[in-house]
Symmetry: C2
Subunit: 347 residues, 2 copies
DNA sequence: GTGAAAGCGCTAACAC
DNA sequence: GTGTTAGCGCTTTCAC
């Protein structure tokens, strides 16, 4: 069942090892035999068995992709297909396959990673999230298993190759966008505070405010997982304050859309009453109304770079830990405007 | 490098074959040795090498997932993470791993599938799309390789196990929703006409109109990939007609959002001037404004069923071809309303 | 109930 | 340049 290397060898009148060498395009095989062998492979319809190869080789030509637990379906989802595209492009080019592991809980995710590593299923792993105190990272470090992180590690930062944006500066810039438009009361809406990306973006926000001499107010920060029921309330409260914000920095475009809706339910209009800026530049950010002023973090590129780094690392165990910063870009759209225009629609 | 079955055997004072039998939980191994072996495995930190097992076994405990080419990033994306969740849940439960293959072009996708099959990487494949004249399906059929289709095959329908919604009836129902609200001029906006799902939904739309004695007008159908530049124009034209539609059936929620934006750019408001209904009930459909009246097709469930069917088929090559229809549900939200309310906002 | 040995399909010394 | 051979780690007859 299935053509093996032996069949090809026989047909081409060479030894199996020669066929193997032809497959690997070994330099010191004569062009003539190469041709003959290749012809035989074609004719017989030969395809190598990757398992056998992996066994002999201790290399799988496969990369593992690990997402964070998909329990909170909302937030990171649109991110995933795009980063996958980026990874897939280089994987395909370099003839790597992709394994994927996810799970509803952290525990499931961890188990998945163990399976990949212990089972010799993959040569390396791309982690698509970074959270404090993550046992997956500790496990991989301990096993000295090649991996790359998309995002910023919160520990061992110089031991972990990672691909990230400069989220702090991105956040400073996007917050300044509001400040430059004259906003002085700017609130921050974030997600899971365990995620490093949330932390960085919040820090940038605070730094920008401080630099501009604006107060950093605690009642201007929301961190509930507010795409669920709690969030609606939290946003409502924010605008019940004596001095409600006129600008909002939101950690993700998808959240922004939810917030816009909540606001409009309360008769608050974007950008006429409040300006919104956010992050990620998802596809949807352009086609929603208002279109979103956001930071394009180049998701595809993040995936692309991560895959490249990982493959380098796989091919050379001694490759030093790297840090790749993918540039970001501000995208100005309709959701933010100069504070002096506030109330435009009601006037 | 790595604990093998032999190490365990030595430690437990048995033969390697016995260890193997313990792993497989073979019945005629004494409980005593089982315990002893298991203890040794624990102590040594043994983990089976899946490649070796696959080689000996001709089974990989892995499923392949094939998406359609990701070139058109817009349409099917939000679908993917959700269906993956569904697949992943059962894969995890039954100890299967997931292998994923995508590509920018059809050709790349096809190559990926070949790699999975020929390389013995997976035991079976889940196809996440159905399009006419697809060489991937033909390839799998020809090789008699286990696979399951999410969607409806356009050929060999009784030979292919597939998991689908009843898209024709779903479309009839959602179109009737508009008809029952008094709409008589109802247009259809679809995507790629090669996709079976587009065809089914269009047919349902037409059948509903006919049943209601409403004309099926050709100038009421748009099929450009209109999330790109062409679409804006097409929608514009639609509302330049002498009798512009008052209702729109749109093949996907994400498209709906784009259309709402285009309409509002032209001063046409949803649902006050035109009602919109669509399909899929993506997460975003609920938080956008207006929230979308749509058909919940239970994406998670589609994935779940597909994975189950595939594993059955893998375990029993003679499993007959099945057809699983996942029920759908109408979700009424703000984007559609009775035609008599039209113009409400301008009055 | 358990062991010995062959073999899954391939690669990688080591020969010549 | 190419053939021979010994594994990679596991499963699976076939003995006993």
């Amino acid at each position: 069942m299935g053509i093996t290397i032996k069949d090809v060898a026989k047909a081409a009148n060479v030894a199996p090892s020669t066929v193997s060498r032809v497959i690997a395009d070994h330099p010191r095989i004569s062009l003539d035999t190469k041709k003959r062998v290749r012809k035989a492979m074609k004719e017989l319809g030969y395809h190598p068995n990757v398992n056998a190869r992996s066994l002999a080789n201790r290399s799988t030509q496969a990369l593992g992709i690990v997402m964070k637990s998909s329990a909170d379906k909302a937030l990171q989802n649109p991110f995933f297909p795009e980063v996958l595209r980026g990874i897939s492009a280089v994987a395909h080019e370099l003839d790597y396959s992709l394994y994927i592991s996810t799970g509803e809980t952290e525990e499931e995710v961890y188990e998945g990673v163990q399976r990949m590593v212990y089972g010799n299923r993959v040569d390396g792993i791309i982690l698509l999230y970074s959270r404090v105190d993550d046992n997956v990272i500790n496990f991989l470090l301990e096993k000295d298993f090649p991996f790359v992180l998309v995002g910023k590690p919160c520990e061992h930062i110089d031991r972990i190759t990672h691909v990230d944006n400069d989220n702090v500066n991105a956040s400073i810039d996007i917050t300044n966008e509001l400040i430059n438009q004259g906003h002085e009361r700017i609130a921050f809406i974030g997600g899971d505070t365990d995620l490093v990306v949330t932390q960085d973006r919040m820090r940038g926000y605070e730094m920008a405010l401080e630099k501009a001499g604006l107060p950093v107010r605690e009642d201007y920060q929301i961190h509930k997982e507010f795409l669920k029921s709690g969030g609606r309330e939290a946003v409502h409260q924010l605008f019940q304050l004596e001095e409600p914000p006129t600008g909002l920095v939101i950690v993700d475009d998808l959240m922004s859309i939810g917030v816009v809706t909540m606001l409009e339910e309360n008769g608050i209009s974007v950008p006429d009453d409040v300006s919104i800026v956010s992050f990620n530049n998802l596809y949807i950010s352009e086609i929603t109304r208002p279109s979103l002023t956001t930071v394009d973090i180049q998701i595809y590129n993040l995936g692309n770079q991560a895959a490249k780094c990982l493959i380098e690392k796989v091919n050379n165990q001694d490759e030093p830990a790297k840090r790749i910063i993918v540039p970001y870009e501000l995208v100005r759209r309709q959701s933010s405007q100069h504070v002096s225009l506030n109330g435009a629609s009601t006037s």
